[in-house]
């Protein structure tokens, strides 16, 4: 008996360390010196850093090296009728880099929105609402760009399982998210930020919303009821009293006018930023050589009536003399160049690839033209307000003088002619501001029409060219995905 008691004591002794062993450390170890998406996103600064990161993904893709001819998959910029060799047909791999870039942006935006949703952010409700609005704005922006290029797309939000394979969401549902995101942004973003002129505002949200509605009113959804909504959204921007056109068209993009009342939202630049470097826009004849990246189509130039805007936006000769078109003699390429973003500050800046002009995404001139187009369509005929809006842009283009080659618009012109004139005006005013021209071509379904000067494209034209191909890589890895018509499926 005594032995048994002793044994029991020993058993107890042995049980003790087992109990200790199994209870001392938790198996979920929280990282301390590593920042992970689990412990990040608790303050306004952290959330906005993720938004900044998302813009980083797109920044270099849309401008700067994004327009450089040496990285072929990136040169979506050339996908319209404005640049030399502008390829109106869509190569299957053309959109891969942009697809990746937008989704890289989205994963960070969704992560930030997830942190907000989980209640991780330690800020006032008003700040939190603003942070969320910044995020929904950016998400809508990315999805809007994606769906215009790819149609039905994988739609991921902060609620999605990041490891799950998904199918494509129909365009209509993509737009529902875009619209609700932008409505939230328009309602919760301030009309301006102190000390942060580059951030998205309620004006930017309305401007983008106008563009979204206008696109919904045209192809592929083709629902004309959205014209009025587009006009209303544009008019909200116009009536805000914040935005106006820069007086001279040759100063619109000037580095000094980076935050002018015309610039609603843009890719922000810093001085050391190579994305706006003059050299990328310059012809080989400049100093030690521009990079010849952005060469303008001669047919596009021929069609453009003489006016101050033409001299401001196109480089037609080497010495910059207005009204003189001598590029065939001046440049080895015998073509004009894009001048609107080209700012020669001094030789050092040129050679060191530094400059600091913002690259526009939403501009007041764009909003005026969107209003004009939407109001005309909604009313069934050009209204005076529509004409007035468009004429602001045309007047500036003409240097506020009458130009027989490019007259002002009047209501008498009629609905269709007015609409055609606005699309043409957008092509000139918004030239090289990708993807505005390409987007107008696709939503108006006028690829065959604009291809007329280019028989080599017209011969191969199909309606499938209005959408890009879904990347082969993703199709291979996700069997739920389908390919757009006319493109190979691996």
């Amino acid at each position: 008996m005594r032995n048994n008691i002793k044994n029991i004591v020993y058993y107890l002794i042995l049980l003790l360390p087992i109990a200790l062993a199994t209870s001392c450390k938790k198996l979920d170890v929280t990282p301390r010196s590593t920042i992970t998406n689990v412990n990040y996103g608790t303050s306004a600064v952290q959330i906005e850093a993720e938004y900044a990161g998302s813009m980083n993904m797109l920044w270099g893709k849309y401008y700067g090296y994004g327009v450089a001819g040496d990285r072929t998959p990136d040169v979506v910029f050339k996908n319209d009728d404005q640049l030399q060799g502008g390829n109106l047909q869509v190569d299957p791999a053309l959109g891969d880099m942009l697809w990746l870039a937008h989704y890289q942006a989205l994963v960070n935006i969704n992560n930030a929105l997830g942190s907000i949703k989980k209640g991780m952010v330690q800020e006032t409700p008003q700040v939190i609402a603003q942070l969320k609005a910044e995020g929904t704005f950016l998400r809508a922006f990315n999805y809007f760009y994606l769906t215009r290029m790819f149609g039905d797309i994988p739609l991921l939000t902060e609620d999605s399982d990041p490891t799950a394979l998904v199918a494509r969401t129909p365009i209509k549902d993509v737009y529902s998210l875009i619209v609700s995101d932008l409505q939230y942004a328009a309602a919760n973003l301030p009309s301006s930020w102190s000390n942060a002129p580059g951030k998205q505002t309620s004006g930017a949200a309305n401007a983008l919303l106008a563009k979204v509605y206008l696109t919904m009113a045209t192809y592929p959804l083709n629902d004309p009821t959205y014209y009025q909504k587009a006009a209303d959204a544009a008019s909200a921007v116009m009536s805000s009293g914040i935005y106006s056109l820069v007086t001279n068209c040759n100063q619109v993009f000037l580095p000094a006018n980076t935050y002018s009342p015309e610039m609603i939202w843009a890719f922000n630049s810093v001085y050391s930023d190579k994305s706006s470097a003059a050299r990328g826009w310059a012809p080989g004849e400049w100093l030690d050589g521009g990079w010849d990246n952005v060469i303008v189509d001669t047919a596009f130039e021929h069609h453009w009536p003489a006016q101050p805007r033409k001299d401001a936006y196109l480089m037609l000769n080497l010495n910059g003399t207005p009204g003189v078109v001598s590029y065939t003699n001046d440049f080895a390429t015998a073509s004009p160049y894009c001048k609107k973003f080209f700012f020669y500050l001094d030789p050092n800046d040129f050679m060191n690839n530094t400059c600091a002009n913002n690259m526009p995404i939403l501009r007041y001139a764009d909003v005026l033209l969107m209003y004009a187009e939407a109001a005309n369509q909604a009313a069934g005929a050009p209204t005076q307000a529509a004409c007035d809006a468009a004429n602001k842009v045309i007047s500036r283009a003409n240097g506020y003088v009458t130009n027989a080659g490019h007259p002002l618009l009047t209501p008498s012109i009629g609905k269709q002619a007015f609409d055609d004139a606005i699309i043409q005006e957008r092509s000139w005013e918004l030239c090289f501001e990708w993807p505005d021209r390409w987007s107008d071509i696709t939503r108006k379904r006028i690829l065959d029409k604009v291809s007329a000067p280019y028989p080599q494209y017209l011969a191969h034209y199909t309606p499938n060219d209005y959408l890009f191909a879904i990347p082969q890589n993703d199709l291979k890895l996700d069997k739920l995905l389908t390919q757009n018509p006319g493109y190979p499926h691996p």
Binding site: L14, V29, S33, N37, N56, L156, G198, N268, K274, L477
Partner: protein
């Protein structure tokens, strides 16, 4: 004399007088009575016949006893103290005294006495009529192997069912070894040991049965005295009692998630009963560079430079770099032999002192070691101070306590090799390309600068590169382990193990203004690094063991363990540049104008439960089954737990009568096992997505998008992005291994052999898997891919000669075939082995599906075009004397389509052959070891055999029309001019891609006389009067002879980039030493 047991009392009757001795309890055993009896009998010598009558029980014992005395010695006549004698069939035992003498009383019926002593063969002596026995015990190395340490316990070797190789510490210390890891080379089948660098104090790379993992690590788990995660290289070899290498799943699955790469179990020595022993060992050595490169003297070099220069100008010969007079002067002086400038003969010394002993309930061993080893390269050294204290105590009959402490301080200065921190900074790179025409110092006494206008202009004075860096690496390690053993019931024991491994690694370096890294720049001078890591690992294991023999045939051992491990690592890493002056260096980083730093912290938890059953039936049929469940914090919540089962069977045929009757085998056993092990060697937190502000995707390096906008000159903010895709589904890599083995022993154990065949399939390999880019990422670390290792191991040992001239020998050979089965949907993974210095930007080390670790891919060269092949050469735009590139696809163009496999780093087989001879007091050990069928990419040759900057003597043997060698000719531009229509179709030859070529691939096979040691033990009879128990002196040579075709410093090369996919690339590593040592061991 008579004893009576009557009325529970013991009576003693002498001369008819009855004396009551004591009251006897009812349950007093007969054994006790007999012991009592013996005591009495010994004290009374006057009677030769005695009787005990136990009346009550009606039992009658009759003892007719005699006393036997004698002496037990070993073969050299030394008395053996503490040898045990037992009378077979009785419980009578005794031990010898300090002089080896014994005295034992035996009954008349007793036939035999068994004498046994640890380390000697047991002997059964027939008593016969003798009363005095002088017995010589024969030492038995085999008997030491009788017990094998397996995971969480020990087993008799004869009961093993798994594949385990055992090495005794005594075998290691016969040779003058500094490091345990290096000394394992060639000793155990299936264990590949690479000594990738000759730098002192560097760890060896140990691979057990091939390489399983690409990203998870392939290092074996080291368990020292039950504590996991030990460090072999800092362990004092003198402290090692035994090393058991667990290889198959039956043996390793008990370590579950840490067992996939094999387990090395080290048991350290304990004090043994008897007189305290004081042992001192000294090793004094002299190291020299085993093999130097064959480089040109200055005169030849100058002529080659002139010849190269003359190829440059089509119009005529440009002016030579060196005048004839200069060349004549160089011929006279020979110029600078840079290898001699930076290499030296380096001494080493190693002191070992051990004090050990044991009493009835205490044992102790305290040892200290000191190593002071200088490196072959000037300004390099390694020092290690080590201390061990092992204590064991029986607290009472039931509780035993063990305490293990070991500590080591390692200090080393080893200059960088390879690309770190820059190609330039490594003396071993520049020594092979720096012009011999330059003197070490210029006329002002400063280090000479590099040559101007010829030679390797991006090199650095090798002497400065070797001498000036101040590297101070230190590692302070503490290991503490404590065990408590409870004997709960007969056969049931419980053991609690607690332990900690703590290390503090501090690496400091300062590159002063005389070095490439620290040369003066606009921000100042100097380049300093400081890295401090405090790491600790805590472990608690609770082991319950039940060991019982049911009947006489069913032996069952059941083991259950609950275990917890926690490890933490905290580091500070700093890089400082731009000091005002060179004075303070790495000890005052605050003085630098630029300091960048990081402070990583990580921790991991491993919780485990495991069980094992060992069952044997009649010692014929053996079964081991184990199961382990591990939960690790490094995996996501869905996959924290991993389960690792194994089962093995063995059939001990030699215990079957039909084998016994053959009288051939003294031992014969068949074994088979299957099981699953894991690899948790991924860094913590990889299931999560790391946030980073460093991003290379937009050409700007950082996520510094100016989100807020604002002033045009700044106002960018630090953006944060997710750097990688989170994968909560990450789990263990798991390795399924099956093994069959046979052990046999012939000629009464004089020949023993083991053969094993295994098949390992590692699946769920951690790889970066391509994922749809709509996730925002291109890849995610996932469990995809699989890898196979199949192999054969054979070891044979024996005693071909016994008697006065003895020879024991052991030969092991290992064959492993590694194959990539699946890489998760991709066909190849490229590894860029270097990005600086050697111009090999494209990954020639590739893992391809169907290939194996260490496969090399590139362009094949078939020597040079010979004059007779001019027409064929012309098709490729080449002329005789130029390199003949192979065009395997015969499309007339040499381009990337012509890439073929040009080499493999994995050997066909490795082997080791150990021989130990003794003749009287002389002993001789010869150890031969080697590797066959592997190739090495000798990257250094790209530069030192290049025509432009090479210093190799092969350039003197370049192709000429009269001597058409395979070294490309110096082809003058004017020669080219005579072939106006030649258009080269070779798109790679002139680019750096042409550097991944079979031209630099060499046979890496070697056979090496790793060690030869001649020792002499002075007979103890001559030492006794000095109080010395044993004295052995020896001379030894390591790496004395190597047979290899490999031209680099040493065929034992490996990667320094840390991935096994890149083994077999030689970046001019630290040369291997040839070491001559003298040593002695003295025991008091």
């Amino acid at each position: 004399m008579k004893l009576y047991l009557f009325n529970k009392r013991l009576y003693f009757k002498n001369n008819h007088k009855l004396t009551a001795m004591m009251k006897v309890k009812k349950n007093l055993t007969k054994a006790f009575l007999m012991t009592m009896l013996c005591l009495i009998l010994f004290n009374s010598s006057s009677y030769s016949k005695r009787e005990l009558i136990e009346k009550n029980n009606e039992l009658k014992y009759s003892f007719i006893l005699k006393t036997i005395t004698g002496k037990i010695t070993n073969e050299s006549g030394e008395p053996l103290k503490g040898a045990s004698l037992s009378v077979i069939g009785t419980s009578i035992v005794t031990t010898t005294d300090a002089d080896g003498n014994f005295k034992i009383a035996v009954s008349e019926n007793a036939k035999k006495i068994r004498i046994s002593f640890v380390g000697y063969k047991s002997q059964d002596i027939t008593i016969g009529n003798s009363t005095r026995l002088n017995i010589v015990l024969v030492s038995d190395v085999q008997s030491l192997l009788d017990v094998v340490v397996v995971g969480y316990g020990t087993q008799k070797k004869s009961d093993l069912t798994g594949a385990i190789s055992s090495i005794k510490g005594k075998e290691l210390t016969l040779l003058p070894v500094q490091q345990v890891d290096q000394s394992l080379q060639g000793r155990a089948a299936g264990v590949q040991v690479l000594n990738p660098t000759g730098a002192p104090g560097q760890s060896a790379i140990i691979r057990i049965r091939g390489m399983n993992s690409i990203n998870g690590g392939n290092g074996a788990l080291v368990v020292i005295d039950g504590l996991q995660g030990g460090n072999l290289s800092s362990l004092n070899p003198n402290d090692v009692e035994s090393i058991d290498i667990l290889k198959d799943a039956s043996a390793t699955a008990i370590y579950g998630s840490q067992g996939a790469n094999g387990v090395i179990v080290v048991t350290t020595k304990k004090g043994k009963k008897g007189k305290p022993l004081i042992e001192y060992g000294l090793i004094l050595g002299n190291q020299t560079v085993r093999h130097r490169m064959d480089l040109m003297a200055a005169g030849d070099y100058a002529r080659v430079v002139n010849e190269e220069r003359s190829t440059n100008d089509a119009a005529g010969t440009p002016p030579p770099v060196f005048t004839d007079a200069q060349i004549a002067a160089y011929d006279k002086s020979g110029g600078t032999d840079w290898q001699s400038e930076i290499f030296r003969t380096a001494p080493l010394q190693n002191h070992q002192l051990t004090v050990s002993g044991a009493t009835d309930n205490m044992n102790y061993l305290v040892s200290g070691g000191y190593i002071d080893q200088e490196g072959l390269l000037i300004n390099s050294f390694y020092k290690r101070y080590s201390l061990r204290a092992n204590l064991g105590a029986d607290i009472n009959k039931r509780i035993h306590f063990d305490l293990y402490y070991s500590g080591a301080i390692e200090n080393a200065n080893v200059q960088p090799v390879g690309d770190y921190p820059s190609y330039l900074g490594a003396a071993l790179n520049s020594v092979l390309v720096f012009a011999p025409t330059i003197t070490p110092y210029d006329s002002a006494g400063n280090y000479s600068k590099t040559s101007v206008g010829y030679g390797a202009t991006d090199s650095w004075n090798p002497l400065a590169a070797a001498k000036e860096p101040q590297i101070m690496n230190s590692n302070v390690q503490n290991n503490v382990g404590a065990n408590l053993d409870f004997k709960i019931l007969k056969g049931l024991t419980f053991k609690v193990v607690g332990g900690a491994y703590i290390s503090n690694i501090k690496n400091k370096s300062y590159f002063n203004s005389k070095t490439a890294e620290g040369q003066s720049s606009p921000i100042g001078v100097g380049y300093a690094t400081y890295a401090n890591t405090l790491y600790y690992n805590l472990q608690n294991s609770n082991i319950l063991t039940y060991d019982h023999l049911f009947g006489i045939k069913h032996h069952l051992i059941v083991t259950g363990v609950a275990e917890n491990q926690y490890s933490q690592s905290q580091s500070v890493n700093l890089i400082a540049q731009g000091f005002a002056v060179d004075i303070t260096g790495a000890d005052a980083l605050g003085g630098a104008s630029s300091v960048t730093g990081s402070s990583p912290f990580s921790e991991r938890v491993l919780r485990s439960y495991l069980g094992r059953i060992n069952y044997s039936y009649a010692d014929k049929y053996l079964l081991t089954a184990s199961y382990r469940a591990d939960a690790s914090s490094v995996f996501g919540s869905l996959h924290k737990w991993g389960y690792f089962p194994s089962v093995s069977l063995a059939w001990h045929l030699s215990n079957e009568s039909f084998i016994k009757n053959l009288n051939i085998f003294s031992d014969l056993k068949l074994r088979g096992s299957i099981g699953i092990t894991g690899n948790q060697g991924i860094s913590p937190y990889q299931t999560l997505s790391n946030m980073t502000n460093s991003w290379s995707g937009n050409n700007y390096g950082n996520a510094n998008y100016p989100y807020n906008g604002g002033p045009q000159t700044g106002n960018s903010m630090v953006g944060m992005i997710q750097g990688n895709s989170a994968n909560p589904n990450l789990k263990w890599e798991s390795t399924k291994q099956s093994n069959i083995g046979i052990d046999f022993s012939l000629f009464k154990g004089r020949l023993t052999a083991t053969a094993e065949y295994y098949n390992k399939l590692t699946s769920d390999l951690l790889l970066n898997q391509a994922i749809p880019t709509y996730t925002g990422f291109a890849t995610v670390l996932s469990n995809v891919g699989s890898m196979e290792n199949k192999g054969f191991e054979f070891s044979i040992g024996g005693e071909p000669l016994v008697g006065k001239f003895k020879w024991t020998t052991n030969f092991v050979i290992s064959i492993n075939k590694n194959r990539v089965v699946n890489l998760g949907g991709i066909n190849e993974l490229d590894f860029v082995t270097t990005n600086g210095g050697y111009n090999v930007a494209n990954g020639f080390m590739q893992l391809r599906v169907g290939g194996s670790f260490g496969d090399m891919y590139g362009y094949r060269t078939l020597g040079t075009w010979k004059t007779s092949e001019a027409t064929q050469a012309a098709k490729y735009g080449a002329i005789p004397g130029m390199l003949h590139w192979d065009d395997p696809n015969n499309d007339g163009i040499i381009d990337t389509k012509d890439i073929v496999k040009i080499g493999k780093a994995q050997p066909k087989y490795t082997f080791g052959w150990n021989n130990h001879f003794t003749y009287g007091n002389l002993d001789l050990t010869i150890f031969i070891q080697g590797s066959q069928g592997n190739q090495i990419f000798n990257m250094g040759r790209i530069r030192y055999e290049s025509q432009y900057e090479g210093t190799s003597k092969v350039l003197l043997n370049s192709w000429t029309p009269t001597n058409q060698t395979n070294i490309p000719a110096f082809i003058k531009a004017s020669t080219w001019a005579t072939y106006p229509n030649l258009v080269s179709t070779n798109t790679i030859a002139n680019g750096t891609d042409g550097n991944r070529t079979s031209r630099w691939v060499e046979d890496g096979s070697y056979v090496r006389l790793k060690n030869i040691t001649l020792g002499y033990t002075i007979p103890s009879s001559k030492l006794e009067r000095f109080g010395i128990a044993k004295l052995r002196g020896y001379v030894s040579a390591t790496n004395l002879l190597t047979i290899t075709k490999y031209v680099g410093y040493d065929p034992e090369v490996s990667n320094f980039n840390g991935n096994d996919a890149q083994i077999g690339v030689d970046y001019n590593n630290y040369p291997t030493a040839k070491v001559i040592t003298f040593g002695f061991n003295i025991t008091f």
